[in-house]
């Protein structure tokens, strides 16, 4: 059997996963945020209480933003891309292209974060390009394997992640100082601004929209639970980091959970940063593969939903170039991040697309 044949790849593009697997994918995507930023990055004078509230606001905003999409999809078969394509092939191409751009960015951003972590903490002398290039290849391979494979893997990574977080949490218990948690009692200030600044980090909204048609039943529940539990996990990790390293730590340092793992000691495991490293790599891999698959799928519809094999090669080439660009030109990553960070593009896509499609369908029926 030819693994790269058109029917095989088309089958992988339309493969179906369970609601639980969708939950795992969305949860891991959201938790990734905690390992790189903990949701309170870069703002001076920001308190832990404000950061936690901002997380909750972002979660609720996410639910609100997805409401038009869920209302549009009610009673329809397939997903947004399929419905757009069914309405008109041109609509399918436009929607595919519009969703492909942020998907590519989110995938490349994940690879960039992955490389950044390695350069800063693990192998300072490693070439940035080789790390990004190899990871881009690995992610492309995972996307080629299909959504089912990535979804099955996500459950295993979820289990590894939960165990790792628990071990880090218990291991760092000796370093928790309640005095650092006094920040929870500080007045809340600038919550809305913080929430707006970080809303764009919640890429899982896009993944949900793209993979809606690939999921069997219970999709809404998966989305809500992944949002709630994912936000709760980010919040707990933020509190743990603050309790062990100080309130200002999470707003000053990238990858704070790595530092927390470095000071965690647990019996025979000694330092837990090696375990964190494995967890981080697997989590990055799954997240990158998730958005890589989303990008491939969107690109397939952008190409008219005809040829899966050449679209895959195009996807792999674009992803590799983008990841290499981010690795070589740090400003490129920063510029793209500024563009997507506040979530405006994401919101316009997720709210505007179902609305426009709905109006077009009404117009057609009329």
């Amino acid at each position: 059997m030819n693994r790269g044949s058109e029917p095989v790849l088309k089958g992988k593009l339309s493969a179906r996963i369970s609601a639980f697997q969708l939950f795992c994918l969305l949860y891991l995507s959201r938790v990734f945020l905690a390992l790189s930023k903990t949701g309170a990055q870069g703002e001076q004078g920001f308190t832990l209480s404000s950061a936690l509230l901002a997380l909750a606001v972002d979660m609720l905003l996410g639910f609100a933003v997805m409401l038009p999409f869920l209302l549009y999809m009610r009673g329809r078969d397939g997903g947004l891309l399929e419905n757009a394509h069914a309405l008109h092939p041109a609509a399918g191409r436009i929607v595919g292209l519009l969703f492909a751009v942020p998907s590519f960015y989110y995938c490349a951003e994940t690879v960039y974060q992955f490389g950044l972590y390695y350069r800063e903490y693990i192998m300072e002398n490693t070439g940035t390009l080789i790390v990004a290039f190899l990871m881009a290849l690995a992610v492309s391979y995972a996307a080629f394997m299909g959504l089912e494979s990535v979804a099955r893997m996500s459950f295993l990574v979820l289990a590894v992640s939960v165990v790792t977080f628990l071990l880090i949490g218990f291991g760092a218990a000796g370093n928790y100082d309640p005095i650092y948690l006094r920040a929870l009692l500080f007045p809340v200030d600038g919550v809305w601004k913080q929430a707006m600044d970080t809303f764009g980090y919640f890429f899982d909204l896009l993944a949900f929209a793209v993979l809606y048609g690939n999921t069997k039943g219970g999709r809404g529940h998966s989305f809500v639970w992944s949002g709630v539990l994912g936000t709760a996990t980010v919040a707990v990790l933020s509190v743990m980091v603050s309790a062990a390293l100080g309130d200002g730590f999470i707003s000053r340092v990238s990858f704070p959970v790595h530092t927390l793992a470095g000071i965690s000691e647990l019996s025979i495991f000694q330092r837990l940063d090696a375990g964190y490293l494995v967890c981080w790599t697997l989590l990055s891999f799954v997240r990158g593969a998730l958005y890589g698959f989303c990008a491939y799928r969107c690109l397939y519809y952008a190409g008219g939903a005809k040829r899966a094999v050449p679209v895959f090669y195009l996807f792999a080439a674009v992803l590799t170039v983008l990841c290499s660009l981010f690795a070589l030109v740090g400003n490129a990553a920063l510029a793209a991040s500024t563009l997507f960070q506040n979530g405006l593009i994401l919101t316009v896509l997720l709210v505007g697309t179902p609305l426009v499609l709905f109006l077009l369908e009404r117009g057609r029926r009329a």
């Binding site: 693990i122 190899l134 099955r152 893997m153 295993l156 790599t281 697997l282």
Partner: protein, 479 residues
């Protein structure tokens, strides 16, 4: 299809011509009254005493005028199988399977009587699957004896055998075994279809058929199981799996086959649950050790020495600082030497085989370390890896290649390379399916009912431990 003629000599000449004058083609011509007949046999395939006592002897003593055809049909219950044919190809197939074929002058039909009596190895303990408890009986080469072993253990009308002839030149008998009450009809249909599509000329081992039942024959992990034990096959049949037995080989194929089955042995079900669970976890640990340990050792000592305890690090430095080869090369070379010795030990005659152990101990364990070519920690790593790989022999081929890959990944990129390769291997494993059943079931996709025989072994008194039919695993498309 060429038919037999009514002329006896013409038939005999035709058969001699088809068999190209082979020396093991035996023709016993005789006459009963005015009727000339011939008994055709393949030397070495038939039971000489039985043929003489039951067929040839009584035939030669038949009075003149006896209706030989009717006599043969009445006597057929004494034969070990009886049939009639007018087709030469069918006659040849039965002849070469050890049947006696009787031809008569003036009759275009051949009367085939079963007298198979070829020599075969007696059923002994299978060398590839040793168990502490459980039967000492393993499959042998003749197919029908293997089928009888299965039937003896499962006296159930639902147990079904389907015998098919495959191999365009070898005409090998292949049997499908399944429980009609438990098997998935769609999986069975797929197996039949794949078997029908096999167009090999010679089928000399079940391994020849194995790639035809895999969706990805090039994958590192096989999605077709094998066993040499009839009790294991019966256990698998009860879970809805299908067994494929091939005449001439004691190894049965089993589909669907899941990854977790590599860590299950028949002994687990005879031991107490807590001990069986302990052994399962030992096997899971062994898998990780034999696959990852050499790569981790190389990766951590070269790229991340700060992760090691200081005492251990100092010992490693002391051992490795005088060795001439880089760590990754040292690991590759020493593992290669070990594989050379293992392969040599496998092929050597038994009287000489023990020499391999002596040579191995001297070459690797002593001389190489004393000469400063390799460090003693590396010898420990090789030993631990080898022992771990023997705990799960069915995964030896896969873990061997992965081991080398992880050594390279660790040596080139440290924990980063190992982690990325782990991700790639994991996604590859997750993509595999065996006859439509996800290969990593019941772990992912999760099927909690199946976990009772995966992560731990529930007691037989627990009603939930009655096994989950393989087609009921999560992720399987139901018919």
């Amino acid at each position: 299809m060429e038919q037999l003629s009514e002329q006896l000599q013409e038939n005999i000449e035709e058969l001699r011509g088809r068999l190209r004058g082979t020396s093991d083609f035996v023709v016993r011509e005789m006459q009963v009254g005015t009727v000339k007949l011939a008994v055709l046999l393949c030397e070495g395939q038939f039971d000489l005493k039985a043929v003489g006592d039951i067929l040839i002897g009584p035939l030669s003593k038949l009075p003149s005028g006896t209706d030989v055809q009717r006599w043969l049909r009445e006597r057929s219950p004494l034969f070990n199988g009886y049939t009639e044919t007018q087709d030469i190809d069918t006659l040849l197939l039965f002849l070469m399977s050890g049947f006696a074929c009787v031809l008569m002058e003036g009759c275009g039909t051949c009367f085939i009587a079963g007298f198979t009596g070829f020599h075969f190895r007696s059923a002994g303990e299978p060398s590839s699957e040793m168990n502490e408890r459980g039967s000492r009986e393993g499959f042998v080469e003749p197919l029908r004896i293997n089928l009888s072993m299965v039937r003896r253990r499962v006296k159930n009308e639902a147990l079904t055998f389907e015998i098919i002839n495959k191999g365009t030149k070898s005409h090998t008998d292949v049997a499908l075994c399944y429980m009609k009450s438990t098997v998935s009809e769609s999986i069975l249909a797929t197996v039949r279809q794949r078997l029908k599509g096999i167009d090999l000329e010679y089928i000399l081992d079940s391994g020849f058929l194995e790639p035809f039942f895999e969706d990805k024959p090039t994958s590192l992990f096989s999605t077709v199981g094998t066993t040499e034990r009839p009790d294991v096959l019966c256990g698998k049949l009860s879970e809805g799996r299908i067994g494929i037995l091939v005449d001439g080989t004691p190894f049965a194929l089993i589909v669907p086959h899941l990854f977790v089955e590599h860590f299950q042995t028949f002994d687990d079900y005879s031991h107490r649950p807590f001990f069986a669970t302990f052994l399962r976890w030992l096997k899971y640990l062994s898998f990780f050790v034999c696959t990852l340990l050499p790569g981790l050792y190389v990766g951590v000592t070269v790229f991340h020495p700060e992760l090691l305890p200081s005492d251990l690090l100092l010992n490693i430095i002391a051992s490795e600082q005088n060795t001439p080869l880089p760590m990754v090369l040292e690991a590759l070379v020493i593992h290669l030497f070990y594989e050379l010795m293992r392969e040599a030990g496998l092929r050597l005659p038994r009287p000489v085989g023990h020499a391999i152990g002596v040579v191995g101990a001297l070459v690797i364990g002593d001389a190489a370390v004393n000469a400063g070519i390799i460090g003693s920690p590396m010898v420990m790593i090789v030993a631990l890896t080898a022992i771990s790989s023997f705990v799960i022999p069915s995964l030896y081929e896969s873990t061997l290649l992965l081991r080398f890959a992880f050594i390279l990944a660790g040596g080139l990129a440290g924990l980063y390379g190992i982690s990325v390769l782990c991700g790639v291997v994991l996604v590859n494993l997750c993509s595999l399916k065996s006859m439509g059943v996800p290969f990593l079931s019941p772990i992912t996709p999760l099927k909690t009912a199946g976990l009772g025989d995966t992560l731990f072994r529930r007691s037989w008194t627990n009603r939930r431990n009655r096994g989950v039919p393989v087609q009921d695993m999560t992720g399987v498309e139901h018919e």
